[in-house]
């Protein structure tokens, strides 16, 4: 399979990977996908005064999943919570050069982020 430069770069050197070293009460966590189906994404958001102060992820999945998660973590930082997920999965796929058959990976990343945002709303 061929990969876009954006995917290769983020897969090789993801900048936002890893669980933040913060107490659990300062994080909201969202998760989507399943290990046994090949993609499992966890997002950690640190939200201060209704603004996303930090976003990190962990991912088990293909290079496109890792690249999409890294891209979205970067884009979300600094946004108000209610505007956290501005990109549609298709825009995310276009931005990263994901092939059509990998659109599902963008959806899983979106689901993980939405799961975290839901967790925030419930607090």
């Amino acid at each position: 399979m061929e990969y876009s430069k954006a995917v290769l770069s983020r897969f090789r050197r993801p900048q936002y990977a890893g669980r933040p070293c913060l107490p659990a009460d300062q994080l909201v966590i969202g998760r989507a996908g399943k290990h046994r189906t090949g993609s499992d994404v966890v997002f950690y958001l640190q939200i201060i005064a209704n603004q996303i102060h930090d976003a990190r992820f962990e991912a088990y999945g293909c290079p496109h999943t890792i690249a999409a998660a890294d891209y979205m973590a970067e884009r979300m930082i600094g946004r108000p919570v209610d505007q956290a997920m501005q990109e549609t999965p298709q825009q995310l796929a276009d931005e990263l050069g994901l092939p059509a058959e990998k659109l599902g990976q963008a959806l899983i990343v979106e689901d993980a982020i939405n799961d975290a945002l839901e967790a925030w709303k419930k607090r």
Binding site: F11, P14, R31, K34, D40, E58, A59, Y60, P63, I66
Partner: protein, 396 residues
């Protein structure tokens, strides 16, 4: 042997570089002044010289496997040899029976040929391997029926390197007057084969797995007892009426030379490759969550197939781009399918996908293995650190 900027080549089971000694012999068959003439042109000396080179190569191939020269039929490769052996014998013997026995972990050249024969009214039994990839002779015996005409099994599995007991299976088949075809693409030149002592009726060979050129292969067709086939390519009656088409002298000479070199170097090469493979396994097995695929002892020297728990297959393969290796998965359009061989062994989908076949060969060095161990360890660790901590353990 690795050129700067190129990945380290550890994919010899997929195809080998042509040995320079082979390439030199081949080049002498291509241009004017060399053995360029059609070997079928018996009316002039140039044609007769080319035919002499073809027959010399036939003897070199026969010599490596303990066959006689007249039992070797040139083909375009092991895929064609498998097709000719299975389709040719099935069609010739269709009035005697329509049942064929093979296994679930054969090469696609065998499986797809069998599926085609199913469409033509044949019935095929696909044997399941053990969890370490072995086909037991007893399983074969139990699968034989009164209408069984053919058993087709590979000598060495191309993905996991396990060795089938073709001596015992051949004996069973001969007792029951069932033809026995063996795909030896992965074993010839790596294991000693003496067809004079084996009850094998047909055996498939290729050039490019043992440092010969691509596009050339051969089929051994036993003369005593005589194995009869229907040709599948028509047009000129070449190769004793079994395979029509102008003989590619340069390819044939290359394959012959490759087989002669393999015969001379088989023993020393085996020991060296075994040492490299064992070094690689020792290095990789220092990681946690690493599984060897295939029977630990009854494996060909050059192949090591390993599954890595907790990493995703496609990411693993991309992360290992400094190594030219084969993956346990094949990207098929929208999905990444796990290897059917590893799935047949009972590996789950994710573990089968996160599998790598390392295969060492003539030009592999200890330094290559050191880099392979270091790079694989680094990348597997990185992938695992990226993954959610509970990914492998939560059963999700």
């Amino acid at each position: 042997m690795t050129e700067p900027g190129l990945p380290i080549f550890l994919d010899y089971a997929a195809g080998t570089p042509t040995d320079p000694r082979v390439a030199e012999k081949m080049a002498a068959c291509l241009t004017a002044g060399g053995l360029f003439a059609n070997p079928a042109s018996s009316s002039h000396v140039l044609g007769r010289q080319a035919k002499g080179a073809v027959e010399n190569a036939r003897g070199q191939v026969a010599g490596l496997v303990g066959a006689s020269r007249r039992e070797i039929i040139w083909t375009s490769g092991a895929t064609e040899s498998d097709n000719l052996a299975i389709t040719g014998s099935a069609r010739f013997h269709r009035d005697r029976g329509r049942h064929i026995v093979t296994s679930k972990i054969e090469h696609k050249a065998v499986l797809d040929t069998c599926r085609q024969l199913e469409k033509e009214g044949f019935e095929v039994t696909y044997l399941s391997p053990s969890s370490v990839g072995m086909i037991d002779p007893q399983q074969v015996g139990e699968a034989l029926r009164d209408d069984t005409i053919l058993v087709s099994l590979m000598h060495v599995n191309n993905e996991i390197g396990t060795i089938t007991d073709i001596a015992a299976i051949g004996e069973l088949c001969r007792e029951r007057a069932v033809l026995f075809h063996v795909d030896a693409a992965q074993s010839v030149g790596k294991l000693a084969i003496n067809l004079a002592e084996l009850n094998v009726d047909m055996m498939s060979f290729t050039g490019h797995k043992i440092y010969g050129p691509k596009g050339i292969g051969a089929l051994y067709v036993c003369h005593s007892p005589r194995c009869q086939l229907e040709p599948i390519i028509h047009g000129g009656g070449h190769e004793m009426g079994l395979r029509a088409g102008t003989l590619a002298t340069h390819q044939i000479v290359g394959m012959g030379e490759a087989y002669a070199i393999a015969e001379a170097e088989l023993e020393s090469e085996h020991d060296r490759l075994l040492a490299l493979r064992e070094k690689l396994w020792r290095g990789l097995s220092a990681l946690d969550g690493v599984w060897l695929n295939g029977e630990p002892q009854r494996r060909v020297a050059g192949i090591l197939n390993v599954s890595f728990a907790g990493v995703e297959g496609e990411s693993l393969l991309l992360a290992l781009r400094k190594l030219a290796v084969s993956s346990g998965s094949a990207c098929v359009s929208a999905s990444t399918e796990a290897s059917y061989v590893l799935r047949a062994l009972g590996r789950d989908e994710q573990l089968a996908q996160a599998s790598i076949r390392f295969s060492v060969g003539r030009f592999s060095t200890e330094a290559d293995i050191d880099v392979a161990i270091a790079e694989t360890t680094r990348q597997v660790s990185r992938m695992r650190e990226l993954a959610p901590r509970t990914a492998a353990a939560d059963g999700s």
